[in-house]
């Protein structure tokens, strides 16, 4: 343990890392100070996570040096990182599901025999000190996302970490949980710990950090004091050019009812109503936003419409262009897809659903179109063209369209996924979290694509997380609260506060489960 602590905990000099042909980090210089919260900001694939993985010993730098308290150090493994007091909380939690919190916390420590009683004591002490709340005896598989994250943080603190790195910690948290996390981070800062926060949400950066370091396409752009920064100035540094922060919202001239949903009710495996008498109409030439606290039934709504979720009662009518009405309830997902309801669902695990990791972009595009070929040989020209279009328009960072998507960064994988769904131009397009984890520049490219779809007469259902975006992008917003429709508002004449209120209370009454 260091007796005299200098302010600068970690200094990176000329760090470079390449994966095959992709340069993830190019000559990065960065210092991390004690008693400060540093935000690491950058677009997708700008190398933030890679850089931090080198600090935590997951990757080895190909060039450059790391200094701890002025001494050059080599971090060859996660163990070396611990010994230096560096702890990283990954975006995907590193926890063993079937273990208790305490068992997870002591993993890898060799301080004598297993004494879970003493561990529980020490965990409690850490919790009291920073304001956490966890039960050390609870199994991880019984925990909520936020509780799992708490276990991760306590785990690194238990090891005596002085430098904490959090990779997009708020991506999966509710606003309340985020506030709680930030309170804890401020406590740690007061305790003279060095904290690095990787995030995309500018509001959070401005709220919690002291300094902001910006990376762009693997290069270090600079560090600024948060006090002197604004959302606009940070965005400019991040993308390297001024990005228009307004979303175009043209009006479609001839809206028609496209999807009429009445009294839709579904229950989950435990018999809990996930959707309760949901009634609304999605019109062509309109983006209908769906707002709500995470888990209010958004996912179930999309899955019911696309035929993936068993429906208890209610009806979903699809109005064809020729005036015909088709009942979607009872149809298989493939039939619904053929009728023209496309789904651009972006799951939390981008590779788990929808893409084959070892295939390149072209082959992944083909997964949607292989039925269109003639005879026994597939047609590769169309998917190839599509792949190139997505590559070009969404600025996917990849050496070629044949490069395995598994080896791209998370954001780039998502661009491939979303791009493919939108490109199929269905009359009804369902999207959920289409910009989750994407940087501003790419998000706007996707907003534009959605608007393009709307103007060509599609009914777009957009489930989003950021209210600001919903307010700017959508024509109307449907607010869900505990599986019930709390209300449908005109996005042009409403406020964030109004929607926020509707998200927590159905029609003014307490409706939260």
């Amino acid at each position: 343990m260091q007796k005299v602590q200098s302010k600068c905990a970690i200094e990176l000099k000329g760090i470079t890392k390449t994966f095959g042909k992709v340069v993830a980090n190019d000559d990065i210089n960065l210092s991390i100070n004690r008693g400060e919260i540093l935000c690491l900001l950058g677009e997708n694939g700008s190398g933030k996570t890679t850089l931090m993985n080198m600090l935590s010993g997951i990757y080895q730098p190909d060039g450059g040096e790391i200094f701890k308290d002025g001494e050059p150090v080599a971090i060859r493994s996660p163990r070396d990182a611990f010994d230096l007091g560096i702890g990283m909380i990954h975006q995907h939690y590193h926890l063993v599901d079937v273990f208790t919190a305490a068992q997870n916390i002591i993993l890898g420590l060799d301080d004598g025999k297993m004494d879970l009683g003493a561990v529980n004591e020490k965990v409690k002490e850490i919790c009291d000190r920073y304001g956490f709340d966890i039960d050390p005896k609870k199994k991880v598989y019984d925990m909520s996302v936020s509780q799992k994250q708490t276990v991760e943080i306590v785990k690194v603190l238990y090891r005596g970490a002085e430098i904490l790195i959090l990779d997009e910690p708020t991506a999966v948290l509710t606003p309340q949980e985020t506030d709680k996390l930030f309170a804890v981070l401020r406590n740690m800062k007061a305790d003279n710990k060095a904290i690095v926060l990787i995030t995309h949400k500018l509001a959070e950066v401005l709220d919690v950090s002291d300094k902001v370091a910006i990376l762009r396409k693997g290069k270090y752009i600079g560090t600024v004091d948060t006090k002197t920064a604004t959302a606009q100035s940070l965005t400019d540094m991040m993308v390297g050019r001024s990005v228009k922060l307004n979303i175009d919202r043209p009006l479609y001239s001839n809206p028609k009812d496209k999807l009429v949903i009445e009294n839709l009710t579904v229950v989950d495996g435990e018999g809990i109503k996930k959707l309760d008498s949901v009634t609304f109409t999605a019109k062509s030439g309109e983006i209908l936003g769906v707002a709500g606290i995470a888990g209010s039934g958004q996912k179930e709504l999309l899955e019911s419409i696309s035929g993936l979720y068993p429906i208890m009662e209610g009806s979903i009518l699809f109005n064809g262009d020729d005036g015909s009405q088709i009942e979607l309830v009872g149809k298989t997902p493939m039939q619904i897809r053929n009728i023209g309801v496309g789904m651009g669902f972006v799951p939390e695990d981008r590779l788990g659903m929808g893409l084959v990791g070892s295939m390149g972009m072209t082959n992944n595009m083909m997964l949607r179109s292989w039925r269109h070929g003639n005879g026994m040989f597939f047609n590769k020209k169309a998917p190839q063209a599509l792949a190139e279009k997505v590559w070009d328009e969404l600025e996917v960072v990849t050496p070629s369209t044949e490069f395995p998507v598994r080896r791209m960064s998370g954001g780039n994988i998502q661009k491939v996924l979303v791009g493919r769904e939108i490109a199929s131009k269905p009359p009804v397009l369902l999207t959920a979290y289409a910009v989750r984890g994407l940087d501003i520049n790419t998000s706007y490219a996707i907003y534009n694509l959605l608007t393009e779809q709307k103007m060509s007469g599609a009914a777009v259902l957009y489930i989003g997380e950021e209210l600001d975006v919903l307010l700017e992008l959508c024509d109307r917003i449907l607010v869900l609260c505990g599986g019930k429709v709390s209300g449908i508002v005109d996005a042009r004449n409403t406020t964030k506060e109004e929607i926020g209120f509707m998200m927590t209370t159905v029609g003014g009454k307490g409706g939260k489960e």
Binding site: I58, P78, R79, H90, H94, N104, M114
Partner: protein
């Protein structure tokens, strides 16, 4: 009733071989390595566990052999060959990152071949069956518990009328249970099998744990083969007799839901199911149907555990998956 007691009493012998085979594979699988080569490893344990005391007896002369030394040699020889096979499996899957299923199946074929070759070679060398003197045969299948224990109704026949290996197996199962649940090393090993990323990020040496668990597991599995040759087969090498035991042990690991303590009773149960066709004869009921019983029971257990989706009774989450740190 009496027939059942006799059945389970006799099942202990075959069950002991299964118990070792299963315990070894449980340890291996806890590290996330699915070594399907159990069949081959038990085969090798079966022949080398016999050849070792056979050579020893030849060296000191019949009648001068110390039974304890002979048993020790058999255990050491079987363990060594099993550990070697485990090391080979780890080298191919952990270091070279080859597919575990393919490697395991190759190991099953390879081990069986090596065992048959070694058995045949030894048979030609001594010009007859590879076997031991009667004194040593007795030592290997010594039901040494005192008579008053054996004479306890029901329990005596089943629990106390067994060879020394039966009790070693039970002690091993209990020891393994305590190791996995009460020690840090055991906890870390389970972490490696559940989530190597987590274990790696926690600074646990994945490669070391996988190698050691697979080698020790392979060794224990091989002892199972030795126990079979030395007890059930009467210290005589008969090529075909071990056939299928290894696969049954793989099934048993699933049946036990990866818990060593369950291996004790379930291997006896499976032992009973295996020899039921000899003991309980129902007219017009073909023996082939009896012989598939263990596998039917395994499938039923698989169906039940996956239907109820009990988190604690699932295989190690990363079973059969190779881990490479920089892979994205």
């Amino acid at each position: 009733m009496n027939a059942l007691v006799l059945l389970f009493g006799a099942a202990g012998a075959y069950g002991t071989a299964l118990m070792f085979g299963t315990l070894g594979e449980i340890l291996t699988e806890k590290s996330g390595n699915m070594n399907l080569g159990v069949e081959g490893i038990m085969y090798m344990g079966g022949i080398f566990g016999l050849i070792a005391p056979n050579l020893y007896e030849q060296a000191v002369g019949e009648g001068n052999a110390n039974p304890f030394v002979a048993i020790l040699l058999a255990i050491v020889a079987a363990f060594a060959v099993g550990a070697l096979a485990g090391a080979l499996f780890s080298f191919i899957t952990v270091t070279l990152r080859a597919n575990q299923n393919v490697t395991g199946l190759a190991m099953a074929t390879f081990g069986t071949g090596v065992a048959k070759f070694a058995g045949e070679l030894r048979r030609l060398q001594i010009g007859g069956y590879v076997t031991l003197s009667n004194d040593l045969k007795f030592a290997f299948d010594n039901k040494f518990m005192p008579d008053f224990l054996k004479n306890i109704p029901i329990v005596g026949r089943i629990i106390f009328n067994q060879s020394e290996f039966f009790y070693m197996g039970i002690i091993l199962a209990i020891a393994m249970h305590l190791f996995l649940t009460k020690t840090k090393t055991g906890l870390y090993l389970r972490a490696v099998g559940e989530s190597p990323v987590t274990a790696d990020a926690a600074g646990i040496n994945i490669t070391k744990y996988k190698y050691i668990a697979t080698m020790v597991g392979g060794g224990i599995t091989a002892i199972g083969g030795m126990v079979y040759t030395m007890t059930t087969a009467g210290c005589v090498w008969i090529e075909a007799s071990l056939s299928g035991t290894g696969w049954l042990a793989v099934a048993l690991v699933i049946f036990c839901t990866w818990r060593p303590l369950n291996a004790i009773w379930s291997s006896i149960l499976f032992g009973a199911l295996m020899i039921m066709y000899l003991r309980i004869i129902v007219p017009f009921f073909p023996t082939e149907l009896y012989k598939i019983l263990p596998y039917v029971v395994t499938i039923i257990v698989l169906v039940i555990t996956s239907m109820r989706n009990i988190k604690d009774k699932q295989p190690p989450a990363s079973l059969g998956v190779n881990y490479f740190r920089e892979e994205r």
